[in-house]
Symmetry: C2
Subunit: 150 residues, 2 copies
DNA sequence: CACAATTCAGTTGTGCACAACTCAATCGCG
DNA sequence: CGCGATTGAGTTGTGCACAACTGAATTGTG
């Protein structure tokens, strides 16, 4: 096999990783005012959209496990943005809900997506297209990961 | 502004982040045999391609700073894959070079890109196109990040 | 009902990303 | 030359990602 395929600039994963971190830098600045990190912002997005939900379901929506979410949620709770309480009907489960303060933060977050979109320099159609491709990619990779396990 | 833009499934950054982590899972399995993590693999790619180079330049190619690279390189050195030595002509600079073992690993890494490409389910043209768009995105975000600083 | 298997959240340990910082080497300007 | 500014690597501290694990609650099966 030619070395071509080992060239850094041919690795899609590198471009992906670089783009993801470049987003991180832009978000970091925008979210600083809100007192959120980027992963915390993603959690808040789900809560603003769905309202109260168990940790398990939050993890499904964000593709994150309890090892990542438990400490993150603890920090959000310490900052007064969410409440966590054991479910009455299933004591294994913990429901995560917005506090007043957490719900109120939605107002101030409202302009973040627009500013991010502006930073990309892409129009809405381009963003939609790229998003669709990335979702397709993720799906394929997940399927491949499952095969690896077997 | 409508809530639409705060929906998780509208956030390009989330798709990007998810795809990046999905890649991580697939790489993790493939690279386990080589004893590399994914960021370590990226460093090795650069070294296989460029040969010896200073930490500074490595960081430029990978968009990583010394805070990330220093401990990572220390681990690669501990695993016998690279050597680090202060430059004679500029004592501030540290050159990173492959050991015999590190150079030899290239052979075994040769099939990784093909297996990754297969896992994506994309053909080469699709990958090239996606890569180009992501690079464009990164460039735009970097430019926006610079504006933020000012 | 009993009890093994499963589910859920949380903990521990490792590694990466990045900001903020230190410290030594080098550069550049007067 | 002398000295302040800059550069390069490294350290420290915080937070995220994830594997592997624990322990308690629940479920399913005989």
């Amino acid at each position: 096999m030619s070395d071509t395929y080992l060239r850094l600039d041919r690795q899609i994963c590198f471009s992906l990783n670089a783009a993801s971190r470049a987003f991180g830098s832009v978000y970091r600045v925008l979210l600083k005012d809100l007192g959120l990190t980027y992963p915390q912002y993603l959690v808040m997005l789900v809560l603003w959209e769905d309202g109260e939900l168990p940790v398990k379901r939050l993890g499904e929506r964000l593709r994150l496990d309890s090892g990542t979410l438990s400490p993150l949620l603890k920090r959000l709770e310490a900052n007064g943005l969410v409440r966590r309480e054991r479910s009455a009907r299933d004591e294994r489960s913990v429901n995560v809900a917005l506090t007043e303060e957490g719900a109120a933060l939605k107002e101030r977050a409202a302009e973040v997506p627009r500013r991010i979109a502006a930073a990309t320099g892409f129009d809405l159609a381009e963003i939609d297209d790229l998003r669709a491709r990335l979702n397709q990619l993720t799906e394929a990779l997940d399927a491949a990961a499952l095969l690896q396990d077997a």
